[in-house]
Symmetry: C2
Subunit: 338 residues, 2 copies
């Protein structure tokens, strides 16, 4: 595969999967100290957006209240559900995102239990939380790594509450995922290159996703196409699509659909039936097309956003090349003060 290191990928993703026991132990300890009455998922930008599937799954599988808030909002808003008996889960790949660090300090002062997921153990966020899970990753590998770790955490939380007896089977599927994702990448490689070649000058993409895959849809639009390629996007959820954005669809407008495998799939199929009629630039990524050896079928709906993240990295690798625009180039982000 173009510009890709197989061993590095497997090491990072297996590193995420192997956090299982440490996550388990942390939750046991937190429970031993009295547990928690609700769960806060806090990040800034991408790291918070990648918590969306975990939030969605909790709402559909658990009665534990979950609140996902951007760190800057959380700091401003005086959230009435937050308190010393909240469990606060935070994430930052760099471990240096200022709003998230501030939020970590704030919640610790208030006495809440804190967990962080980071790419580096020697950075401020890692040092600001009670339990820190470090798994080195970079932009090209962080989505899958975060998704897997967030999932291991919520699966165990729900399991301890008696809401997810399939926990061990689920963790086994997670352990099989890195090899499966590698096959996804290999399978999509030619298509990713062709897509990048075709769309190198496309100035705008409309991205649609739903359910567990909505977060990855939103993330890819804002954090990759906008931030790393300076391409205009609109990410719209399948539920909103027919209430406004559909009017933008016409010949020549690039529409990208992320068809996952959870209970919202019929909503994506409805968008597809519409879009195929009105644009000649429709791209459909369907997680169902990819085998994930060793993964139980019942968890595939949770894994769709991970499949999309891993195949989109292949798209991005070719896109930066044909556009002669490195993914690391920024106009402003961490280059200027603001």
């Amino acid at each position: 595969m173009f510009n890709f290191d197989v061993e590095r990928f497997l090491k990072i993703q297996n590193g995420a999967a192997s956090q299982k026991d440490a996550i388990d132990k942390a939750l046991d300890e937190i429970e031993g100290k009295g547990g928690f009455k609700n769960l806060f998922l806090i990040g800034s930008g991408g790291a918070g957006i990648l918590m969306m599937p975990a939030e969605y799954i909790m709402k559909t599988h658990s009665t534990l209240p979950v609140y996902r808030e951007a760190a800057a909002d959380f700091l401003a808003m005086n959230h009435k559900h937050f308190g010393p008996d909240s469990l606060v889960v935070m994430a930052s790949l760099s471990g240096t995102t200022s709003e998230t660090i501030e939020a970590a300090k704030f919640v610790k002062e208030k006495g809440a239990a804190t967990i962080s997921f980071v790419g580096h153990g020697d950075k401020p966020l890692a040092q600001a939380t009670d339990y820190t899970f470090v798994n080195f990753a970079e932009d090209d590998t962080s989505c899958e790594s975060f998704f897997m770790q967030f999932y291991l955490l919520i699966a165990r939380i729900m399991n301890k509450r008696g809401e997810f007896p399939q926990y061990e089977a689920f963790a086994n599927s997670i352990a099989k995922l890195p090899e499966g994702l590698l096959k996804v990448k290999e399978q999509v490689e030619d298509r990713a290159k062709a897509w990048a070649d075709k769309h190198k000058d496309t100035p705008y993409h409309l991205l649609v996703g739903s359910g567990t895959s909505w977060g990855e849809t939103f993330y890819y639009a804002m954090c990759i196409l906008e931030e790393m390629q300076w391409i205009k996007t609109k990410a719209v959820s399948a539920n909103d699509f027919f209430h406004g954005t559909l009017e933008l669809v016409e010949k020549g407008v690039s529409v990208i659909l992320f068809k996952g495998e959870d209970e919202t799939r019929p909503m994506m199929e409805r968008v597809e039936r519409f879009a195929v009629q009105y644009t000649d630039e429709l791209t459909v990524f369907d997680s169902k097309e990819f085998e994930l050896p060793g993964v139980d079928a019942e968890f595939r709906g949770w894994f769709s956003p991970i499949v999309f993240a891993t195949l989109l990295e292949r798209v991005s690798a070719h896109l930066e090349h044909v556009r002669n625009h490195p993914l690391t180039t920024r106009r402003y982000y961490r280059r200027i003060q603001y």
Copy 2:
């Protein structure tokens, strides 16, 4: 004012404000039947998006759990917090939005108490809920009408829970709001016309909002600019702005900021300090610039999205005119089957 009927506007908005006693009575009755343990806010597209400020205010003022879900998602997802002891609040201006009607039937069957806010009493949604608040409005007047009614509802809910002793003062401020909004429209009229003239051929706008005003920001982008004017947009919250979308800002890119008056205002000021340096097409709408006679200062942060909705209607009125594109023209919505 151009293409504007003062009496009609005041009648509609005073109609919304005058729902106070009926909302109060409905809540008393629901309480008499055992009350509710959480609140669901459900709509499709715009009607659901306009519930965002109410959701935000509940999270910052009340310990009652609130869940805002798009009707289509809600129907698919098997939400674990929903049950017979939920209060479900729904809205649809037409009263005919199919996903919302289906959701109303579903939640009634499950035994939950139901309230709807509609523009017409003889349509299916009105007939599918226990308590129906009818206030005629159309696209140009519905935002303010919905906002005011949602606010009266949550203010009374919180008041009954002992979380909002200012309820009567708040309701008095709501009653004063229609006259104040009319003055906002008059004050912004020339600016709205100039903006529309200048931007009639602008193909893309980046809209930023925060806190109570984020919902109206999202709504104006998707439901007016995209749906009614077929103009591409990106709506981004102030908390996400610095984590991706900022890279799109450069000379010539239209950026529209909605500076409200709640606790997230400093986040908008930060976006403004950035944007003013990097684009020469910055528009700042600041609710603080507008007097609202008779409105208590402490509620102005809640009313910012209403101020923005009312001033944006003036922008839209001029925009449809100079673009020769009626706000009612659709390619697809309710014109074709999908």
